[in-house]
């Protein structure tokens, strides 16, 4: 178990390191990027950039300096806004992104799993057909289409919710709905197929042959086992909710990190792009680690050093 965790941790650090390195060298390759010293910009910014990135030193020293910055949680100054640091940008966007993202994650789990269970238990009857039809739509339609449609219908036409911002609690509905739509459908489909597969296993027949009550059979034997593959996708789901927030925050004009990121891309604010990418990567690695811990708690086969199922 310790060995498993250590291995996962090592993998995560390696990935993080790979991302930082990739980001650094890609940004270095950008013509007119942050690491080119002769450029037209506010002298204030140029000075800050020089102080931060040691542009007069050799490449490897710049790299080390940047790495050092990242590991002391200092992502440097903005490339476009004088006096603004990437840390400040992230700090200002974090509450919004975190609130919307967590609500979306919550709705993915709290709605997706029960919907999948209902569908699996009513296999080939109307609740199954209904859930699967909705889930198929949800998986096929891109989130930004759902977002704009929802924005048009519910905010502009029916005026049930505000068209932008989350100052009003009703403002959360559409962004959370649009952000979670795809993954909610995905999780519902996955839960359904996983539960159906579990239902066909021999040990479920054993559970029935022991005379257990239907509730016990479903929750203690069925769901527990079918949730294992689900736990493994929660990491990627969290990752995609984060990146999905780029467009959602843009469409609903939410002042989150994703919006800063998209703005940074449009403005070619390279240091912000770099910093926010790395911030995302760290968040994701932490999520994946948490998911691993959950997985460990759910599947005894790993605990005892057995191979992955």
């Amino acid at each position: 178990m310790i060995a498993y965790l250590a291995q996962r941790l090592a993998l995560m650090l390696a990935t993080l390191f790979a991302i930082i390195t990739l980001t650094f060298f890609l940004m270095h390759a950008v013509p007119g990027g942050p690491f080119v010293s002769d450029k037209m910009m506010a002298p204030e910014i140029a000075a800050a950039i020089n102080a931060k990135f040691h542009l007069d030193e050799p490449l490897w020293q710049q790299y080390l300096a940047y790495l050092g910055g990242v590991f002391t949680f200092d992502l440097g100054p903005s490339f476009k806004y004088p006096g603004m640091s990437v840390n400040q940008m992230i700090a200002s966007g974090l509450p919004t992104t975190a609130k919307v993202g967590l609500l979306a994650l919550l709705s993915v789990i709290a709605l997706g799993v029960p919907l999948g269970v209902v569908a699996a238990l009513n296999r080939n009857r109307w609740p199954d057909t209904a859930v699967m039809a909705i889930a198929t739509i949800g998986v096929a339609i891109p989130s930004y289409v759902i977002a704009t449609l929802a924005l048009y219908v519910f905010a502009m036409r029916l005026k049930l919710v505000p068209t932008f911002g989350i100052d009003d609690w009703r403002g959360y509905f559409l962004p959370v709905f649009a952000l979670s739509g795809f993954w909610l459908s995905y999780v519902a489909r996955l839960t359904r197929s996983s539960l159906i597969e579990t239902m066909l296993t021999d040990y479920m027949t054993t559970a029935r042959a022991k005379g257990l009550r239907p509730g016990q059979i479903l929750f203690k034997h069925g769901l527990r086992n079918s949730l294992i593959p689900l736990v493994t996708v929660i990491g990627p789901v969290a990752a995609n909710l984060l990146t999905g927030s780029f467009v959602i925050e843009q469409i609903f004009a939410l002042p989150g990190i994703g919006r800063h990121f998209v703005l940074a891309i449009t403005n070619r604010d390279y240091t912000a792009i770099m910093g926010i990418t790395i911030f995302y990567a760290v968040v994701l690695m932490v999520m994946i680690l948490l998911v691993d811990l959950a997985y460990l708690a759910l599947d005894p086969r790993i605990k005892f050093g057995a191979r992955h199922p």
Binding site: A209, L212, R224
Partner: protein, 333 residues
């Protein structure tokens, strides 16, 4: 003597996209308290479906079309689901073929035994645990207390099957259905498990239905036997009687296929030529007729069970008093 289990005219089909699969067609048999009934037959002959119909554990699409299964005078097929689940794991225990997959991988084996006891007996968890330890001891799992806390993947196949037996016997059933309990195990382990079952039967006095492909196991471990083919009972009788003089050509074919018996005639293993019938559209009359060396025109008419000897009967027109003796009698001593 009234039977513990009296199955009459059991007919079960699976309704699939490709149509109706008539898996079991009018199977009747009885099991007396404390006796061991063996069921043999080729793969797909309907042995498992027969048992699962009785326990009402058919996979989706499976339906009992008609028939009765009286257990202690109550028709299992007419009970409501609550009454049925009160019987399962309680008065009727079941063991499956593959011990590697029939235990839940995410629960300790102890929990899987204990939950069965708690389900059927009004006892505390501690008492159920105590009982589970006794059961593990009874099925000879070493250091039972410690093993209760282990997960299935920490056990070998033979040990897992012992756990399954412990679960099946947790509530001292009157009937134990064992569907090929040793097919998935090593030969040496097979014997250990069967001997253990026999011992436990002597101790607890339950009846056993033992499904197997192995006629050797039938001879050694069962009192009466049922030979199934194409979803029907081909022959039924005391094991000694059937082996002394098999009445159905199919039974003769099976016995002739056992190497050491055939060796007496200086012959090698002789598989029965041909393949089992398509259960979507089984042949009219005797399902074995297309492969039978003794088939007659009459064999297209469904045959009744005809008594062949005391305690032995068979579904073969050759036993009809007017029927001619076959020219060549395969596999008869």
């Amino acid at each position: 003597m009234t039977a513990l289990l009296d199955v009459d005219g059991l007919t079960t089909s699976f309704f699939t996209r490709r149509g109706e699969v008539k898996s079991v067609r009018g199977v009747s048999f009885r099991v007396a308290a404390g006796e061991t009934l063996g069921i043999v037959g080729e793969s797909g002959s309907g042995k498992s479906v027969t048992c699962m119909s009785i326990l009402r554990l058919l996979k989706t699409g499976g339906k009992v079309v008609s028939g009765r299964a009286l257990f202690e005078g109550r028709d299992l097929l007419a009970l409501d689901e609550d009454e049925m689940s009160d019987l399962r794991g309680n008065a009727i225990g079941m063991i499956f073929q593959d011990p590697m997959t029939s235990l839940n991988p995410t629960l300790t084996v102890g929990e899987q035994v204990i939950e069965t006891i708690i389900r059927h007996r009004p006892v505390s968890r501690a008492a159920a645990r105590q009982r589970a330890i006794e059961l593990f001891d009874m099925v000879r799992i070493p250091s039972p207390e410690a093993r209760l806390r282990a997960y299935p993947h920490e056990f070998s196949g033979g040990m897992r099957q012992r756990v399954m037996i412990a679960i099946a016997l947790a509530c001292e059933p009157k009937l134990l259905i064992a569907d090929e309990p040793t097919t998935a195990l090593d030969v040496t382990i097979q014997r250990q498990i069967l001997v253990l079952l026999k011992e436990l039967q002597a101790k607890l006095g339950m009846a056993i239905i033992l499904i197997t492909h192995d006629l050797g196991i039938i001879v050694e471990f069962t009192d009466r036997m049922l030979v199934m083919y194409g979803g029907q009972v081909m022959e039924e009788g005391l094991v000694t009687a059937v082996f002394r003089q098999p009445a159905h050509p199919y039974t003769r074919g099976l016995i002739a296929a056992i190497p050491n018996i055939a060796d007496d005639n200086g012959q090698r293993l002789r598989p029965i030529p041909g393949s089992p019938p398509d259960m979507h559209d089984p042949p009219p009359g005797c399902p074995f007729a297309p492969r039978c060396p003794e088939a007659m025109l009459q064999c297209r008419v469904p045959a009744p069970m005809i008594q062949a000897a005391i305690g032995q009967s068979s579904r073969c027109w050759r036993l009809h008093p007017d029927a001619p003796r076959p020219v060549e009698q395969d596999g008869r001593p």
